[in-house]
């Protein structure tokens, strides 16, 4: 009964705040923007910079025209290293260095690009970013418990016969409901804005349940172990960021060093990526 | 002829549509202790904040020792000390460092600064505890440190906003005696308090504010004499007679 009353009260408090509605709009916008951006950038896999005389450039351009999924441009000698480092070019065709770059490019181009894999990896990435963001959002909701503890409200509830656990359960239920409503808006909304993110019904349900449970459990756990709201905020976002990195959001798991691959098993984001 | 150290003319302040200070006029003479009374929300704190320049007034003028705020702001600030209601010291600095820091903001350096810090801490009987941090102090000691930080630069006017809240009678007695000593040395004091016995013990003149307006500005004994005929035996009776007994719920 106490849990139910706390849950009801917390939902009322959360929906009285403008930030709850703002998050419902902001999160999907940010995710769709970054997701669409990353898909478009992965569309053409190979970016080539050509460095040399006009004749060399024309000759290389003719050869590259025939290759699938290759974009090229004339590179600037003064910034060539930086352009490579910052990911502008995958391969440099340098007149002074012979055709080794072209050979490598031909080999890779023949293997072709698996557009399905590109989209799958983009969808996995979007899903992992969604979970990361909701782990942080759930921490914010979990901080309600700490705020209530600081204000003495939890103690009051305990005086009236409730327990700390029942209060925590109420907080967990309320944040789960609010997060659930936000996810119901976000998940179908994705496919409306970008057809690349059309998930099947099963995938949507999987993603919905997984994100809902993991993020809210995480939020409550953080609020249980933190002494203050500030500590919860910092700890929650730091751990979520580390889980995201280890889980393969930015770097594919198979490309990580072996020891890190073992560590990544601890990350809920890896569990999501493997499930999808 | 009495020298007016402070002259407030037509102070006004509003927060939105709510007028919190309304055409306030009063004076404080050199070497005088003036008690400022009023129910919660009367405008006392706002008046003090305008007096000290922490907040700007919507209208009105302040004259301090012949100087105006518009022309001589810095010189006036050098002469005023404020003992705020909340303990206003850095918890992670020692008592000595706290007093030294706040005194140095008034331009004091070197040996002069050290002398003033020592004098201030000795005055409030905290010299032996100068290396300790406020976290280790009792409530009374924190209040005394609060005072030390405000008097180190030897202000001509000391404004004290409820300086004895939440402390034991011994500490309170010490603080009241210290205020009297300061006054004997020539410091004028504006003393804000809800404790009538303190006002009666310390003050020469009384200001009573209510709903942003000054209801009374009178000599303490003359005020008591005037209201004796109406059956008011104590200052508290006079205060309740003037301001009424209705509850004043302060708006946020």
């Amino acid at each position: 009964m106490v849990s139910y009353l706390v849950m009801k009260n917390n939902i009322k408090r959360l929906f009285q705040k403008k930030s709850t509605y703002l998050l419902m709009v902001l999160i999907p916008v940010v995710l769709i923007f970054t997701g669409s951006l990353s898909v478009r950038m992965e569309d053409k896999q190979f970016r080539v910079g050509i460095l040399g005389s006009n004749a060399y450039v024309i000759s290389m351009a003719e050869q590259l025209e025939g290759m699938e999924n290759v974009q090229y441009e004339v590179a600037d000698e003064k910034t060539i290293n930086t352009d490579q480092i910052m990911g502008k070019y995958h391969i440099i065709l340098d007149e002074n260095k012979g055709d080794s770059g072209l050979t490598k490019l031909e080999k890779v181009s023949k293997q072709g690009t698996n557009k399905e894999m590109v989209l799958l990896s983009a969808r996995q990435r979007m899903a992992s970013m969604l979970l990361t963001i909701y782990m942080i959002v759930a921490t914010l909701y979990g901080m309600k418990f700490l705020q209530d503890k600081r204000e003495g409200v939890v103690e009051r509830v305990m005086f009236s016969g409730g327990t700390r656990c029942s209060y925590l359960m109420g907080c967990f239920l309320s944040s789960t409901i609010v997060t659930g409503i936000q996810l119901v808006i976000i998940l179908p909304g994705w496919s409306l804005f970008d057809h690349n993110f059309t998930f099947s019904t099963v995938e949507i349900v999987q993603l919905f349940l997984f994100t809902l449970m993991i993020s809210n459990l995480y939020g409550i756990l953080i609020s249980m172990i933190s002494k203050s709201e500030m500590m919860a905020g910092i700890l929650g976002s730091s751990v979520a960021a580390v889980c995201s990195i280890l889980g393969g959001t930015f770097v594919a798991i198979d490309k990580m060093p072996e020891i890190v691959q073992y560590l990544s098993v601890l990350s809920p984001i890896r569990w999501l990526m493997e499930w999808m | 002829m009495v020298n007016n150290l402070v002259e407030v003319r037509n102070f006004e302040k509003s927060y939105g549509e709510r007028k919190v200070v309304d055409k306030l006029n009063f004076t404080v003479a050199d070497g005088e202790i003036v008690g400022m009374l009023g129910p919660n929300g009367a405008g006392k704190s706002t008046t003090i904040r305008m007096l000290t320049g922490i907040e700007a007034c919507d209208a009105g003028e302040l004259f301090f020792d012949g100087m105006t705020v518009k022309k001589d702001r810095k010189s006036i600030k050098m002469q005023i000390g404020l003992v705020p209601q909340d303990i206003a010291v850095y918890g992670d600095m020692s008592a000595y460092d706290n007093v030294k820091f706040f005194c140095s903001l008034y331009g004091f350096r070197g040996k002069e600064l050290e002398r003033r810090v020592q004098e201030a801490l000795e005055f409030v009987a905290l010299w032996d505890r100068r290396k300790d941090k406020p976290g280790k102090f009792s409530g009374g000691m924190k209040r005394r440190l609060n005072i030390a930080c405000s008097i180190a630069h030897s202000p001509k006017l000391l404004i004290m906003d409820e300086p004895t809240v939440g402390i034991d009678p011994q500490s309170r007695n010490y603080i009241l005696e210290a205020i009297k000593t300061l006054n004997r040395r020539g410091t004028a004091v504006i003393y804000v308090s809800h404790y009538m016995e303190e006002i009666e013990a310390l003050c020469n003149r009384i200001l009573i504010m209510d709903q942003g307006q000054l209801k009374v500005e009178e000599d303490k004994d003359a005020l008591k004499e005037r209201y004796k005929e109406e059956g008011c035996q104590t200052l508290e009776d006079i205060f309740l007679k003037i301001t009424g007994t209705a509850l004043r719920d302060e708006e946020e």
Binding site: G87, S228, P257 | A88, L105
Partner: protein, 256 residues
């Protein structure tokens, strides 16, 4: 000038002793560089530089920018300690209060970042000492901008707490677009335009140009722009200084 010196030294001491400044500007970047460097070790084997070198360059500016939040909280330091009124009462001007905070924050952020750079250089050899010195100047300009923006938010804005929560989002977006987590490049002109919206992209690019292409024009231009932007925000912080906000210590959830 002497009152300014007192405020500046006091703020400097408080920033050095402040766990957040040290945490965000020393521990956090070192941890990120080590973690990301380790994660991406295999991806940088054929490249001009190692993963540690890459993340050694791109992580530190990101952590400096994140310190906007720390700078905003530092602006509230006196209010939280209930000492703001004392400082307002003292014969110090608003400009002295603001500038003392900005300069103290700038020195601490830049100092911590330079220390991290030197530590990373010992293990990863990012560049020559001359180049590191130039990068240190860049960190100083970036710290200046960060301190000015943070102080402006902390002292000049009413809803600082709400602003602080929202601020993380654009900073993270700039970091992603700037290549702070992974290399993000394109030949597509519209996408290139979007990537160039990130100030961190310009910072990282200028540093890489300095070290790997020996091109310093862009680098000095960047410093000039950063100082200009910092100057604008410094003026804004001074003109928008709100005494009520400076003295408002009601920061729910903020406990030291």
């Amino acid at each position: 000038m002497t009152r300014f010196k007192v405020l500046f030294i006091s703020n400097l001491k408080r920033r050095i002793m402040d766990g957040f400044s040290v945490g965000y500007n020393i521990l956090s970047p070192l941890l990120m560089i080590w973690l990301l460097g380790l994660l991406c070790k295999n991806m940088y084997q054929d490249e001009l530089l190692t993963s540690y070198q890459y993340y050694g360059v791109v992580t530190i500016p990101f952590c400096i920018i994140m310190s906007i939040i720390t700078a905003a909280y530092a602006g509230k330091d006196d209010a939280f300690a209930n000492t703001a009124d004392r400082i307002l009462l003292a014969p110090v001007s608003d400009a002295e209060i603001v500038c003392a905070k900005i300069l103290a924050e700038m020195i601490v952020f830049a100092g911590c970042s330079l220390l991290v750079l030197l530590v990373v250089n010992v293990f990863s050899n990012i560049g020559s000492y001359k180049e590191l010195g130039a990068i240190g100047l860049c960190y100083l300009s970036l710290s200046f901008v960060t301190a000015c923006i943070g102080t402006f938010l902390g002292l000049g804005m009413k809803d600082f707490m709400k602003m602080k929560n929202i601020l993380n989002i654009p900073v993270m977006i700039f970091a992603i677009l700037g290549g702070c987590f992974y290399q993000f490049g394109t030949l597509n002109k519209p996408l290139q335009f979007v990537l160039n919206l990130s100030p961190l992209r310009w910072v990282n690019r200028s540093i890489f140009l300095l070290i790997y292409d020996k091109n310093c024009i862009s680098f000095y231009r960047l410093n000039f722009v950063l100082i200009g932007i910092g100057g604008i925000f410094m003026l804004l912080a001074i003109t928008c200084f709100k005494r009520e906000e400076y003295g408002n210590g009601q920061l729910p959830g903020y406990e030291k």
